[in-house]
């Protein structure tokens, strides 16, 4: 029993350290690299406005566009690594923000509903729940063959329950031999267990896959 607890503590420590490092890189990209690129863009736009030569103006416009694309990519990369809304606004707004990015990346529409007042969750727990949802959605994009996902948040005084249903092709876990996929599913369950929650996965061929995540709030 003690050995299990020690192993769980080690896993938690590794995950927390990784999350801290990811957050640092994300912030550095957003506040450092992103801000510097923005300054370069402003400078280029100033030079463009004060140049009369059409050829040079056009060249500077293209350079500005390239910088804009790079800023956009840096911002997306930073948000992908660590969503700032998670710390500032909470789990639900962070999830909604991620879903916007998810739909424009994979073309899959995610319908999100929330019942009950959103409760404050410690950052360590909310990042774990966010990562499990993120893994579930990425798996859907990879394997489910679907255009529509439904996500439900139910907030009660004692518990948060999130269900994700993909209406996709489904799978039979016992016949699944993609080791990466199985490890991913096991990691989702383990990550929830480490914060005292649970993750249940059920799937039916032709009907889709459902994931239920629950987290005690007291």
């Amino acid at each position: 029993m003690d050995l299990l607890k020690t192993k769980q503590q080690i896993s938690s420590y590794i995950i927390d350290s990784q999350e801290e490092e990811i957050k640092r890189i994300s912030l550095e990209l957003h506040e450092g690299v992103g801000q510097n690129l923005y300054s370069i863009l402003t400078g280029l736009q100033f030079v463009e406005s004060s140049t009369a030569e059409p050829h040079m103006k056009n060249y500077l416009r293209e350079m500005s566009l390239l910088i804009k694309k790079t800023i956009q990519e840096i911002r997306l990369l930073s948000v992908e690594l660590h969503p700032p809304a998670l710390t500032t606004l909470g789990l639900l707004p962070a999830m909604k923000s991620y879903i916007n990015c998810y739909t424009s990346t994979f073309g899959i529409i995610v319908e999100i509903e929330s019942e009950g007042p959103e409760r404050l969750i410690p950052e360590k727990n909310s990042i774990a729940v966010f990562r499990v949802c993120q893994e579930a959605l990425v798996n859907i994009a990879k394997y489910a063959d679907t255009s529509h996902v439904k996500m439900n948040f139910i907030w009660t005084e004692n518990e948060l329950t999130i269900t994700i249903h993909d209406f996709g092709k489904g799978f039979q876990p016992e016949e699944q031999n993609d080791s990466m996929r199985l490890s991913g599913l096991a990691a989702m369950k383990e990550r929830m267990l480490l914060i005292g929650g649970q993750c249940r996965i059920s799937s039916k061929l032709g009907e889709g896959t459902s994931i239920e995540i629950s987290l005690p709030l007291k």
Binding site: T105, F106, K142
Partner: protein, 149 residues
């Protein structure tokens, strides 16, 4: 820009290319007039409408890499041998493509679009087939140059 898919001539080039190469999918991605976003404006042989909602990430996936590098790209057996993650290739996932060949579309000497052909099986596009895709891309550049800033 949204009316690109309405242009008969553009549709004809894409549909003909799909028929000539006997491929499963042809897609045309173009940079939006406002802002740096690149989106799929027309597709032939698509399995669903996901392509309409996909915004191409700069430097990622097939289209993103072509726009950032300005050079053609071929994938013969997705996801084997790809650079980056499977999820960096959303059009391959959305359309279940296994092989693809794609070329850039240049406007004012800058890559601002992508013409992509794909099959849902492993395949190596021959030099002749690559040449056909290239010729179609030149036709599309001519047709679309007035629509691109």
């Amino acid at each position: 820009m949204s009316e690109i898919k309405e242009l008969q001539a553009v549709r004809k080039v894409c549909d003909q290319l799909k028929e000539t190469l006997a491929c499963d999918f042809v897609g045309l991605a173009i940079q939006n007039q406002a802002g740096p976003d690149v989106r799929w404006h027309y597709a032939s042989g698509n399995l669903n409408d996901k392509y309409k909602r996909i915004t191409v990430r700069f430097g990622k996936g097939v289209a993103g890499k072509i726009i950032s590098s300005g050079t053609p790209m071929m994938i013969t057996h997705f996801p084997q041998g790809i650079v980056g993650k499977v999820t960096d290739y959303p059009i391959m996932l959305a359309e279940k493509l296994v092989s693809t060949y794609a070329v850039p579309l240049f406007f004012n000497a800058v890559p601002k679009g992508v013409l992509l052909v794909g099959k849902r099986e492993k395949y190596i596009f021959s030099a002749q087939e690559q040449e056909k895709v290239f010729k179609s891309s030149l036709e599309l550049e001519q047709m679309l140059k007035e629509h691109i800033l």
